[in-house]
């Protein structure tokens, strides 16, 4: 199929462009904004696996981001360990904590799950803030070094870019696999999913661990990029920010997290003069999006694309994957 070839070509081209960005953009500040957006995007991909595909709202995402960031921070600053070992440790630790929390959290459903994870998020934040001897408390950790042997900003860019591509690849593979379809089935109806033989508990647990692991990875990459860690990065407002990125980009879509993080995080930077007005505007945007466009920009793009495609081809030839039309999510009808 011609169009498929064309699209593959486009993706390859854009990935190459992404790889060339440090050469094209000589301005280090702007590069660092993009790097931070990528980092958020990775954490938001995690959120998307859980919320967009599986339909569970976790409000502890920033907490796990914080666990990842502080693992790298503590290991590299206090124990002077290699960044690479710390990175692995960060992902393992955030996934492991995620696993344990999931065991309990996933016994709750819907709004209980959201509030339970809110509680978990606050506890993680408070522990980071109070555990002065390890985390530096409110003062934070200063001077997280660049990963050896990287020395320049552009090196770090490639590191983060590579992990972003890896994340997208992994999430894409999952969503295409049987497991991913299981997630979507759970989102649409837990009872129905159970009736068709899907192990709801295991699948939810898996989605939760993936989401916390990605949050931890994002945090681990954030640490050397900023070089300084304070407890605020693990606090609930950061989770709300991620939620905003995800909704603007598109709930349950593959490009949503990246688009949302790049667009909103960059806008937030450029609209800093209007800082006071930002949330006054972003708050209502969140409400409008969730009411009218829950599939975000990606959904909008998708709808336009569909319309054009069906007009041209005269027929509707979309693959009908559950994730494609989140607007049609059937409400969870379970009686608690």
């Amino acid at each position: 199929m011609l169009s498929r070839n064309w699209k593959t070509f486009a993706v390859v081209g854009l990935v190459v462009l992404g790889a060339l960005l440090p050469v094209l953009i000589r301005n280090p500040y702007f590069l660092s904004v993009i790097m931070i957006s990528y980092t958020w995007a990775i954490a938001v991909y995690g959120m998307n696996v859980l919320l967009g595909y599986t339909g569970q709202l976790s409000l502890a995402q920033a907490g796990f981001f914080g666990i990842g960031a502080y693992t790298v921070g503590v290991l590299t600053v206090t124990y002077e360990m290699s960044f690479w070992i710390s990175l692995v440790a960060a992902v393992v630790l955030s996934s492991a904590v995620g696993f344990v929390v999931g065991l309990f959290a996933l016994r709750t459903r819907n709004e209980y799950f959201a509030i339970f994870t809110l509680g978990v998020g606050i506890v993680i934040f408070l522990v980071i803030e109070k555990w002065e001897s390890v985390t530096g408390g409110r003062l934070g950790l200063i001077g997280v070094p660049y990963p050896e042997p990287l020395t320049e900003l552009s090196h770090l860019y490639y590191l983060i870019f590579a992990f972003l591509l890896l994340t997208i690849y992994v999430v894409a593979s999952i969503s295409r696999s049987l497991v991913g379809r299981g997630f979507v089935a759970i989102r649409n109806s837990e009872d129905l999913a159970r009736a068709t033989g899907i192990n709801v508990g295991t699948n939810k647990q898996l989605a939760f661990v993936i989401s916390t692991g990605l949050a931890g990875l994002a945090g681990a990459l954030y640490a050397p990029n900023i070089g300084f860690l304070g407890p605020a990065i693990a606090n609930v407002p950061i989770t709300f920010n991620m939620l905003l990125y995800l909704l603007v980009g598109g709930l349950g879509s593959l490009s949503g997290p990246l688009v949302g993080a790049l667009l909103v995080a960059t806008l937030q930077q450029f609209l800093q003069q209007f800082q006071e007005y930002q949330l006054v505007i972003f708050g209502p945007i969140l409400v409008i999006l969730i009411i009218f466009f829950p599939s975000g920009l990606a959904g909008l793009w998708h709808r336009i694309g569909n319309r054009l495609a069906s007009r041209r081809a005269g027929s509707h030839t979309e693959e009908s994957e559950g994730e494609e039309e989140p607007t049609k999510m059937t409400p969870t009808k379970e009686t608690r």
Binding site: Q56, N110, E276, T335
Partner: protein
């Protein structure tokens, strides 16, 4: 021993405020199954309305509280219509996200309008009275008494009046309630109105012993969530008992253990309780 009684009074007055805030949250949850994350922001707006009624219009304290309750009730209805009504048939996560949007809007809007300054509401009752050798601040006494009166009034309203019973009916059986002709829309608006008004009363009562600022609702909001989970979401007595329990745990936790512990205790308790009993302590076993 005097320390114990002093802290008991402090805990009870704090608990009655927590209870009022949690009541509003639990009512909305009971009727609409929405955890309204913007509840703390409504609380904050309520404090500002009282403040300006007092300072700009020179109204008496009690009148200012009443006005604040009425204004916030109106705001509650508007929110229900604009945000939560359109989201009623969507997945639960959507309504939660909508309420987060409202929270961000109200907090930043308040800062834009009123500035980030702390403001102080002067209490009309400055003195203190002595009971069994313990000095009790009159404002604190007012907080406790008013809260108890409001709680009792709400209880009577829910149990003894027709509109109140429609709320209870919907809480218990949505389908059955609509079968007997209860208008779910009206009940939903009414619930939001009552919920916001309760938050306004709580904020107006606590304002004289604390400060007013755009972020004053954040912490209370989180605590109210801990309370309604402990008390069983949707349970009115649960919210009241939970409010006092949390406040006393915090007060005595920081008195006899450490202030860090006092800060953490509520959320630790919340996580532990949910881990053991996923539907809360006093849930009705739905």
């Amino acid at each position: 021993m005097s320390l114990f009684f002093q802290q008991l009074i402090n805990g009870i007055s704090l608990g009655s405020v927590y209870g009022l805030v949690a009541l509003g949250l639990t009512l909305v949850f009971g009727v609409l199954r929405i955890p309204n994350f913007s509840h703390g922001a409504l609380y904050m707006v309520g404090a500002y309305v009282t403040y300006f009624s007092l300072t700009s219009f020179g109204l008496p304290y009690i009148v200012a509280i009443a006005i604040s309750a009425v204004v916030l009730a109106g705001m509650g209805v508007v929110l229900e219509r604009l945000v939560f009504h359109p989201l009623r048939d969507m997945p639960h996560t959507h309504a939660m996200i909508g309420s987060i949007g409202v929270l961000l809007f109200l907090t930043s809007g308040a800062q834009l309008l009123f500035g980030a300054d702390f403001r102080r509401l002067k209490s009309p009752l400055e003195g203190s009275i002595s009971l069994f050798g313990i000095g009790i601040n009159q404002q604190r006494l007012l907080v406790i008494v008013t809260s108890l009166v409001v709680m009792a009034g709400l209880y009577l309203f829910l149990k003894k009046t027709v509109p109140g019973q429609t709320i209870e009916a919907i809480e218990q059986d949505r389908v059955g309630a609509s079968l007997v002709g209860i208008d779910a829309n009206r009940v939903s608006m009414m619930t939001f109105a009552i919920s916001a008004a309760l938050a306004a009363v709580a904020a107006s009562l606590v304002a004289p012993i604390n400060l007013i600022s755009p972020t004053m609702g954040d912490v209370v909001n989180l605590k109210a969530f801990a309370i309604i989970i402990l008390g069983g979401m949707g349970s009115v007595p649960g919210a009241i008992i939970g409010g006092f329990a949390l406040a006393l745990a915090e007060t005595f936790g920081s008195t006899y253990v450490s202030s860090d512990f006092g800060e953490l205790v509520g959320f630790l308790f919340l996580v532990v309780v949910l881990a053991i009993r996923p539907s809360g302590l006093f849930s009705k076993g739905v």
